[in-house]
Symmetry: C2
Subunit: 138 residues, 2 copies
């Protein structure tokens, strides 16, 4: 049978995501690992992030217009993205499990899940009181 192997690199990627607790990008993960293992390749990082996400050992967190991020926390929860600095944070909102059932007229559609993404301004950026510009539509 076709098995997957436990390579050092795969383990390093998993550890890096678990260590970088603030929703790291693939690049963040790459850089952390590269500190000690300078020979690791970005391709390997990408491949393992995808594999681990598929396995459910980490979660892919995507917001619009930016690189995907990864989350060590696999339990259901939602994310907030600061439109000014791009930072991603967890949101204190209980799982909205009933949302799927609220959808009407699902004739023929198989709804298997959903995601909620909040956006706005984070405390750090709100503090700066920057000139308010027309909000980006993303």
């Amino acid at each position: 049978m076709s098995t997957s192997r436990n390579t050092i690199q795969r383990e390093l990627v998993l550890q890096a995501v678990q260590q970088l607790r603030h929703h790291p990008t693939a690049d963040d993960v790459y850089h952390l690992i590269a500190q000690d293992h300078s020979s690791i390749s970005r391709a390997t990082v990408y491949r393992n992030l995808s594999l681990l996400a598929q396995r459910g050992q980490i979660r892919r967190v995507s917001h619009i217009g930016t690189a995907d991020r990864f989350d060590f926390a696999t339990r259901p929860h939602y994310h907030f993205r600061c439109e000014k600095c791009g930072g991603v944070f967890d949101v204190a909102l209980p799982p909205q499990a009933d949302l799927l059932a609220k959808v009407d007229n699902t004739d023929g559609f198989v709804l298997s899940g959903f995601d909620i993404r909040f956006f706005g301004t984070c405390p750090a950026c709100a503090g700066h009181k920057k000139a308010k510009k027309k909000p980006d539509d993303r």
Copy 2:
């Protein structure tokens, strides 16, 4: 004062989005316009899509791992993405206006909005009963 101009291209982009009612990508919009105006540039299409979305005349609809799509319907509503064919459809779910208020501990965070994206299988793809493979994590 600095005003925006009503160019033919801008009007064409708006009309194209309103005509292509099934959440077209920038490329779809480009191709529709190019049928009659072969000299239009992709850059212009992208620029005007972004501008119109910022103005609120159309909506940007983004799902993970695919090109952005655009929606002539600007009223609040949610989208479903078929994980097999990539198609995007509207979801019959009333606006969940209360969701923002349900978030606890927003200390310092300014929540200005949210989006909900559903995923699963569309009727056409569900019918085919393709061999089920391990779901993509996107």
